[in-house]
């Protein structure tokens, strides 16, 4: 089956791009404020964004960039699959939650606890867009193009799948990045073929030089 990458995006703490083109994000001179500045730039009204942990913010923003101006969303549909990958699961939020369990300073917060699962980011994207299809999260030691290719390829073996949103989304210690691909069956003139080589190249272009 011919599969194409119809759109891709990359975001880290300082930089965002869509289809390899850097976005101009104003009002974000300081590190740590970039994701909020990007949210403002997108001009979407979604206050839940501010309750999310960084992992979910990254996934949410990337999916907004992917589906910006798209007609594919907000109507309940089952033909899209969301697949996410990362290295560190939800460890960033895990450590935050663990810090609220100290003897003598025991104040576990349910709103933090719910983010101690990595697949919440996939749920956030599904909720925002009304995607009722499969959501899956896999953990791997490092960005693994073969694994991403394989999971997307298998998702399309179900003939009801019309698109797959695949992402590497990581937020822990020095890493903070999301690389998201929209993969579809339909072919266009300028479409990028979906292959291990392309996934690797697109990621490296952004991750290494972004």
């Amino acid at each position: 089956m011919e599969l194409n990458i119809s759109k891709y995006t990359y975001i880290n703490q300082l930089f965002a791009s869509v289809n390899g083109k850097k976005l101009v994000v104003t009002g974000a001179p300081e590190k740590g404020k970039f994701l909020t500045a990007l949210y403002r730039k997108l001009n979407v009204e979604y206050p839940k964004f501010f309750k999310m942990d960084t992992l979910s913010k990254l996934g949410f923003l990337a999916s907004e960039l992917i589906f910006e101006n798209g007609k594919q969303r907000f109507i309940p549909r089952e033909d899209g699959v969301i697949i996410c990958f990362n290295r560190s699961s939800s460890l960033e939020t895990d450590i935050l939650f663990q810090s609220s369990l100290e003897p003598g300073n025991f104040f576990p917060s349910p709103s933090v606890f719910v983010y101690t699962l990595p697949n919440i980011v996939a749920g956030e994207i599904a909720i925002r867009n009304k995607f009722l299809g499969e959501t899956s999260f896999y953990i791997s030691e490092k960005f693994n193009p073969e694994q991403i290719f394989s999971a997307v390829d298998i998702a399309f073996q179900n003939n009801k799948t019309n698109f797959v949103l695949a992402s590497w989304v990581e937020s822990f210690e020095l890493s903070c990045e999301v690389f998201m691909l929209l993969v579809e069956k339909k072919t266009g003139k300028d479409a990028i073929p979906f292959s291990i080589k392309c996934i690797t190249e697109l990621f490296n272009n952004e991750h290494l030089y972004g």
Binding site: P76, E78, I82, R87, S88, S89, L91, D94, I95, F97, Q98, L101, P103, F106, P108, S109, P110, F113, V114, T116, L117, P118, N119, I120, A122, G123, E124, A126, I127, N129, K130, F131, L132, G133, E134, T135, S136, F137, Y138, I139, S140, E141, S150, I154, Q157
Partner: protein
């Protein structure tokens, strides 16, 4: 379709599938009340693996048990015992590993001097330690889909084997209890200090439990032995709320619909083994989903009253117990259930009863709005 060729459960009710199944069948529960445990400020009702027995059993198969955390020991012991039934060599490159755990060694975050390297906090590392124990050369697949992980790992195994990427799949689910997990569920007010009562009108919350469970599958065709196969699996999202189930049971309903499409299995269900956590919202949601799927004439049970919610192990453990029941020709009762709700009545099993039919459905739901459904079948004569 993939074929079950081995399994094991390590839980509060025993260290083999047989011990666990017999305990369930005779109506035992592993859930106990603890006035204080895990350094929690509130009491807890939960089920724990006997750590001394785990130590002894693991020391009998491993010369350096100190290199492994209790969670890794339980997973390795479980996979090792599951492999014995079919005599499969887990170092074979045709064997793929699938690992399901919600929190892995999260307890290490609380320990300043655990003696374990920092890598043990990563799920991919824990999975690698387990597969590495058996000298398996493949990188294990690690799923992390909240409480449906044990089903998601079986679905991943089904897909990989059907795609011909391996001949055997070892699917291990494991979670142990920690202050982290228990206080999180306590903060959500999701726990009951009584034994949980799935689907009962008076249910008041869930109990947590520890387990490691392993299923080993083989790619078709089936052998001559009596076999149970995993036919279908589906995951669907509610697209509704990250921590609350859908009021219409959307994702669970769609997952059920997906696994029963193009089959006559809906009319041949011995039972549905539901998630049935005994929280008010979950069980209501499942009742709606099962009713919407037109399956409310099938017997329904939940195993949470025997084991508690074993999180990443639940999908594997509950599939194994249900396979045993299907093979045994019985529907197991939902421990703790007395009176159902009026609004979406289900045929929840109160007592053990014979089951003539050949299929069962396993459902699970989890945070992030995810829902899974699996369809299993027992072999009848020379089928497939």
């Amino acid at each position: 379709m993939i074929i079950r060729i081995g399994d094991n459960i390590i839980s509060s009710l025993g260290f083999t599938t047989k011990e666990n199944y017999q305990a369930v069948k005779s109506g035992q529960t592993g859930l106990r009340f603890y006035g204080s445990c895990l350094d929690l400020p509130e009491p807890l009702r939960a089920s724990f693996i006997d750590k001394e027995r785990l130590n002894d059993c693991f020391a009998a198969i491993c010369k350096h048990p100190g290199n492994y955390t209790p969670l890794e020991q339980a997973a390795i012991l479980s996979a090792s015992q599951a492999a014995e039934e079919f005599g499969i060599d887990l170092s074979d490159p045709r064997v793929l590993f699938f690992f399901s755990s919600t929190k892995g060694n999260v307890y290490l975050l609380n320990e300043k001097e655990s003696g374990f390297s920092r890598n043990h906090i990563y799920l991919w590392h824990t999975a690698r330690v387990v597969a590495g124990y058996f000298h398996n050369p493949n990188t294990p697949v690690v799923v992390s889909n909240a409480c449906i992980s044990g089903a998601a790992a079986q679905i991943a195994a089904l897909r990989e084997l059907e795609a011909g990427r391996g001949d055997y799949a070892v699917v291990t689910g494991v979670d142990l209890l920690s202050k982290f997990v228990a206080s999180g569920f306590q903060s959500l007010k999701a726990l009951s200090t009584e034994v949980c009562r799935p689907f009962d009108v008076a249910r008041s919350g869930l109990n947590l439990g520890e387990a490691a469970a392993t299923l080993i599958y083989k790619r078709a065709p089936a052998g001559d032995k009596e076999d149970i196969v995993l036919l279908q699996g589906a995951i669907r999202n509610d697209a509704n709320h990250i921590s609350g189930p859908s009021k219409t049971g959307e994702g669970s309903f769609l997952a059920l619909k997906a696994i029963l499409e193009n089959t006559a299995a809906a009319g041949d269900l011995a039972f549905i083994n539901a998630h049935g956590t005994a929280t008010s919202y979950n069980d209501r949601m499942e009742s709606i989903a099962i009713t919407r799927a037109g399956l409310n004439t099938a017997p329904v049970n939940s195993l949470k009253g025997y084991f508690g919610h074993t999180l990443g192990a639940a999908g594997v453990l509950e599939s194994i117990i249900s396979m045993q029941a299907l093979r045994d020709g019985v529907v197991l009762p939902a421990y703790g259930f007395e009176n159902g709700e009026q609004e979406y009545p289900l045929k929840v099993a109160r007592t053990i009863s014979p089951a003539e039919k050949s299929h069962f459905v396993k459902t699970l739901s989890g945070f992030g709005g995810c829902n899974a459904a699996l369809l299993f079948k027992k072999k009848n004569g020379a089928e497939y």
